[in-house]
Symmetry: C2
Subunit: 190 residues, 2 copies
């Protein structure tokens, strides 16, 4: 019975983001999202556990990309070089469509405390994936979680800059710049 | 009509923590918490917006303590010295009762995803308070938010150690040690 719907997942994300932007997150139901996407509620729940998770769909994939790339970095790479490899891989996985949705995604999350909490949790989850990857490379704590934290900051800082319409640089370039700025700043803390 | 109930707030926190530990967070109602504390639901809602917030009651006070102490640190203090002043003040505000509740609080939060998300958000909120305090001292970004992040890590790392029954050191001593370890680790990231 489970008919395959082409791009159902992506269509649901777009429909949700449109509706959250137009009428607010709290006023939007799963039925409305499914309708707008031209799909059924059943299809919605095949892809997402609830309406909140629509906006955080990539979390598990993002964790995996980070962990794999950090594990695959050269053996002699420093912790931050391994994190850079992770960020290169993660940023490369982002599409132009994601860039275009970026400003609306940021605005919707900032307007709702529940979404903001969830976004903070996703951020911590990505940092945890990087921490685990670094530990497997033999980086001790707290250096592993600290390098991962810098990686998470670089990623989100770069995302904010990348989605600006006037931005000319690639997501990966921006992430490397952010990480360099953080490395420099870390030396000034006293 | 609003009768003053001695220590109502503290009694509600203890009752909630007891019930969450005994029967789980999801199975516990506000009525049960109020009953256990010998108070009414009305009194509960005078102190907390919902049952979740009982466990995060100190957030605003903690933010204020951090911000005030960071602002009051000597003008020549480095960012991490100002953070140390904040941690000294914050850790000094904790009571022996809070230390004794610590292990149960940690266990209850770890057992529930909703509480874990809320705890992550509180952590980010304390870091934001430190970041604001440092910016007011003229510390530029991203150094301000990075120093604040080290402060938040030191605080939570120290809390985990402090609430261990065998722990002999003060909360403030542990926080300073944690911050020193983080400072040292920051120099090894490459």
């Amino acid at each position: 019975m489970a008919r395959w719907e082409p791009n159902a997942r992506a269509r649901l994300v777009v429909a949700a983001l449109d509706l959250f932007t137009e009428q607010g997150y709290d006023s939007t139901t799963v039925s409305q999202i499914a309708d707008r996407a031209g799909l059924t509620k059943t299809t919605f729940f095949r892809h997402f556990p609830d309406k909140r998770e629509v906006l955080f769909a990539g979390q598990d994939i993002h964790r995996q990309i980070l962990a794999d790339a950090i594990a695959a970095a050269p053996g002699l790479a420093t912790p931050l070089e391994a994190v850079t490899a992770g960020l290169d891989a993660l940023t490369a996985s982002f599409t132009q469509a994601q860039r275009e949705f970026g400003p609306r995604l940021v605005a919707v999350i900032a307007a709702n405390r529940e979404l903001e909490e969830r976004a903070t949790f996703k951020r911590a989850s990505l940092a945890a994936a990087m921490t685990n990857g670094l530990r497997k490379r033999g980086v001790p704590d707290p250096a592993a979680s600290l390098a991962a934290e810098l990686g998470a900051r670089a990623f989100y800082g770069a995302f904010t800059r990348w989605v600006e319409p006037a931005s000319q640089q690639t997501f990966a370039e921006l992430a490397r710049q952010e990480l360099d700025e953080l490395r420099t700043a870390a030396a000034t803390l006293g």
